[in-house]
Symmetry: C2
Subunit: 265 residues, 2 copies
């Protein structure tokens, strides 16, 4: 069996492109339709009700493109809205929380796991819940890092200021001796260097993007929905605001040229 | 003549409360209806088309409250959408750009004016246009400062990091020897201390909020629409997302308790 229908991916903006980058590596033959809700970004400071309303609209948009699987490539929307989305739509929908939680649980050596994310992700408690469900013995320590997204979008990845901000945010997690840190926001892999430096070499950084791409492969494989035809998947990008800013910042995330971005609304 | 209808004020979020604070001082008898578009905040990274669509919806909401004047208490919306709003609605509508530009032009001694704001405000060129219209001899130097809003919203007003960010942003303006700096975003008055320290005592900081409140007084006075009755105006606040975050951050801006915030959508 082979299914050439695209996989749908949505995020509040450009962050989900870190998931697209991993899909390229792990599922290179799959066609993708990406939607970035750039007119209403960010989601991380907004309420469950608002994020869920936006997320439903985003999945409805992807469904119009006949997708075979939806990836919620946004930690905030995954934390607040995934259960509701699964009840609303028949297509399989996966978020970034459970794959990240599973990977963290499998690699920690001292059972102490740190999680960084937006205010909304952290206060939802979604990562704690997912990790404790795997095994209640794990200790989970969380920290909201709301300045990381604007720092990445400003392109200040290597500036001293970003290092100072990271020191402030990460200090409480270091004090708790976590040996594993979940990057619970799709923007954070861009800050891998500064996070690595501040947490130290002994701490394993978990990038949910890679884990969710692996989960997508497992689900498609198990249900015979992988795309066997063609050599390289085709990608379509849609945004709800004008595309230029998305392209400019997005190319940092994808580390290649982005063509063919359309305004969707 | 006396007119007790409220004045309508909108902003993308909490920032416009700096205008409300000045209205309290300058027009204490006026009733106000405030709308903060917290579900779609921020506007400063979004396109003219999107910001204009949102702004039209916001004015329509205020019109339902029978307002006698609308203040666009958001520099981005004033820069991108004011002309369009004025064409769409019959009620008088004022923005924050022209009052700020006029004040800057009247106080500069060396005719060199700096402007700080969001990406959208700065790239719109709205302040340059307004200042050059007053007198083309003025030199205008602009700088986008996108990290100031998240720093204020994080409550990091007095942190060393904020000082470092201000140093980076303000350096080019200091090099240009501006003697007057327009705070072209309603969040920035909260950072007055750090801006003052970095620019030096000789530079005059122009807070658009105060100027727009004065302009509102002039317009209402000239058309006999001031409210003569009552001793203290009543304020109603509406937001498009859930009110808690608005209340928490907004109390910093207003320097008093905010009661009675309702969700509007």
């Amino acid at each position: 069996m082979s299914d050439s229908r695209p996989i749908g991916i949505f995020d509040s903006g450009v962050g989900g492109l870190t998931v697209v980058a991993k899909m390229q590596e792990i599922l290179p033959k799959e066609n993708l339709v990406y939607f970035g809700d750039t007119a209403r970004v960010p989601y991380g400071t907004k309420s469950k009700e608002t994020v869920t309303k936006f997320s439903v609209e985003n999945v409805e948009f992807l469904m119009e493109h006949n997708v075979k699987l939806v990836i919620v490539a946004c930690n905030t929307a995954s934390s607040l809205s995934l259960d509701f989305l699964k009840r609303c739509f028949k297509v399989p929908i996966i978020g970034v929380i459970e794959p990240g939680a599973r990977e963290a649980a499998s690699v920690t050596r001292n059972d102490r796991i740190g999680v960084i994310g937006t205010h909304a992700t952290v206060s939802s408690g979604a990562y704690e819940k997912a990790i404790k469900k795997i095994n209640p013995r794990y200790s989970v320590f969380t920290q909201a890092c709301p300045l990381f997204v604007p720092l990445v979008e400003e392109g200040w990845v290597d500036k001293a200021v970003t290092d100072s901000v990271a020191q402030i945010y990460l200090k409480p997690l270091k004090r708790r001796s976590v040996d594993t840190l979940i990057l619970g926001c799709t923007h954070y892999p861009i800050l891998r260097g500064v996070l690595r430096k501040n947490m130290g070499q002994g701490v394993i950084l978990i990038d949910s993007a890679r884990e969710v791409a692996r989960e997508a492969r497992e689900i498609l494989d198990a249900s015979g929905l992988l795309n066997g035809s063609g050599s390289k998947g085709k990608y379509k990008f849609f945004v709800s605001d004008e595309p230029n800013r998305f392209i400019r910042i997005g190319e940092q995330f994808l580390k290649k040229r982005i063509n063919c971005v359309k305004r969707a609304v």
